[in-house]
Symmetry: C2
Subunit: 347 residues, 2 copies
DNA sequence: ATGAAAGCGCTAACAC
DNA sequence: GTGTTAGCGCTTTCAT
């Protein structure tokens, strides 16, 4: 087609940046050869590749990734859906994913659900329009319509943070047992001799992994014939909330001797507040957390907590995906990254 | 393969998901009408739009953003280049950007330079291949070849974190004076009567904004006929580094009465270490930081620091871009977000 | 190892 | 307000 009158006749906004065929002309080859020299250098002769590279340099070619993705029906994008960016945990997971993906040429598309499953579905539906290479999402619970969609998805999909029961995950899975973590800490508190333990957390409805930790905590306590009161706040976790939680617990449960917090931020807030108020930890009140953030370990007393391998979750999830993409079916489709009890002096 | 005789004959992997023209057929209109109903609903008649929407629903259409971006030579991607993801500061900036962009339908592409200008150039060159709508990058210093490239870039570009001198920024700019922040704290320390102040920071070469703060600090001290020794570490900022810095300063500068840290993380590490070691702050040694992180304000004594409006930088940068994209030229091309001295009890 | 042709699915441009 | 046509710049397919 294109009955070009004299010469050059790009109808649209073209003529801005040089294209593959500009490079091809410059190098005296066809554009497909340039394409190959770029995406699979070994498939062209050395001398050809060198000429192409020189031509690219000369014309100042920048590869158009959008066109490439359309033609190949696959971008190098990998959406990563997390429930929050205010929580360091997810930042560290993202770092683990990012560093691994980056070295393989994949680019993360970040989606933040604010703990809303509805938002998760919207985000994923939008991202699917970008022909993503793979998908990473947080948790095992999704809206039924999204779950149905994802079951039909034919590319690698990893659900992170929680360890799935056999058959529970949609595809790949990297995570830990939050129920187990909660139970583990409860076990420790019982062993330390605490008899009246309150669990305190924030946004326990949306953040159902915190609720799983509570479940583990409660089940273990009930097995020891102890009650397991729960105090929950609506605001996101913050030092201040931890401080207020400490006051509230002391007020409402005067005989309470230990608080099991749903996360380290609250726990540290409480720890610092206790020291300001002249309360001795753990003698007057014991404090335990979850996550294993560095600054809990810099405080005096050091925070007793359960540490989760956050960056490892990111790295392993990325590795699972890359294995699959490179044709090596991952050895294990589900990976339990485990957790570790850190015995500080606070509980 | 697939030498499909008469009709239907999608040569490639097609036939997976429905396309615009499938929807068009279903709705009994042309595909451009469907396109318009999607991108500019007001440009089609209500009844048409409703029929289109119903058709979309029926065939389960997912819009192909890649094809759209190719045809319009513009994606809805906005690359955001930051030097680090381990530093909360940039996380908060990203949150500010993300929340604003998201509500306008733009998607961030995150790039992490690890404080390398070379890496910055590589990242931006790659991202340009995605036909980004705009660009956000950190700082005013770039490799000359990148600066040249960016000067030719014809879409909104914001350089964040530092406030530029007139004519210094490439296009738009949102930031603060780091020199001024360093000087401000030095001023405060002098006014408090400290006579031997050491500046301590990490990665002062790559992180030249920390060096600007040191410059402001040094200039102010020298004006008061004081020396301004600098202690620098290569490792990234961390509580431990702050603790070690405290030891090192006490060892090498026995008469030192105040330490001005390049950031709050180090400063808090030092503060906690001091309390472990039984040093009184500020009587034995005063400690000052920079950033204004919440947990510095939860410690006892509270950290004296200079707070930077991090999320505001993100929001304002995003707003600048959106104004420009929507045809409203921003009132000010450079925005100084300023900083604030927080007087804790630590210095 | 290289090339020619045919789209990928959408939107810009220009009718009507 | 809606349709027709011609690409956007690349990669797939098939041939040599």
């Amino acid at each position: 087609m294109s009955d070009q009158p004299p010469h050059e006749r790009r109808r649209r906004k073209g003529l801005q940046s040089p294209t593959l065929s500009d490079v091809a002309k410059e190098a005296g080859v066809s554009s497909i050869t340039v394409s190959r020299a770029l995406s699979n250098p070994d498939s062209v002769r050395d001398s050809t590749r060198e000429r192409v590279e020189a031509a690219i340099e000369r014309v100042g070619y920048v590869r158009n990734m959008v066109a490439g993705s359309l033609a190949s029906a696959s971008s190098h994008f990998i959406p990563v859906i997390v429930p929050s960016l205010s929580n360091v945990v997810f930042i560290e997971v993202i770092q683990g994913l990012q560093s691994t993906f980056e070295s393989h040429g994949y680019q993360i598309l970040l989606g933040n659900t604010d703990y809303s499953m509805k938002r998760e579905e919207e985000l994923i539906r939008t991202f699917l329009g970008w022909s993503p290479t793979a998908l990473v999402t947080t948790g095992l619970r999704h809206q039924p319509s999204l779950a149905a969609l994802l079951r039909r998805y034919r590319r690698p999909l990893v659900e992170i943070m929680e360890f799935a029961a056999p058959g529970e995950a949609l595809d790949l899975n990297v995570g830990m047992s939050h129920y187990g973590a909660g139970r583990c800490m409860a076990e420790h508190l019982i062993a330390q001799g605490y008899r009246q333990v309150v669990f305190a957390g924030t946004q326990m409805d949306g953040n159902y992994r915190a609720m799983q930790r509570y479940d583990g905590h409660r089940d273990r306590l009930e097995r020891a014939d102890m009650e397991a009161p729960l105090l929950a706040w609506e605001s996101p976790s913050h030092f201040d909330v931890g401080a207020r939680a400490l006051d509230a617990v002391l007020d409402r449960y005067p005989r309470c001797d230990a608080i099991h917090f749903a996360d380290d931020v609250m726990a540290c807030g409480a720890l610092l507040h206790a020291s300001r108020e002249g309360l001795r930890v753990p003698q007057d009140i014991a404090i335990a957390g979850f996550t294993g953030l560095p600054f809990g370990q810099s405080l005096t007393p050091r925070l007793t907590t359960v540490a989760s391998p956050r960056e490892a979750i990111g790295r392993l999830a990325a590795t699972q995906i890359i294995d699959r993409l490179e044709g090596r079916e991952p050895q294990r489709r589900r990976i339990d990254v485990g957790f570790e009890l850190i015995r500080g002096e606070s509980a």
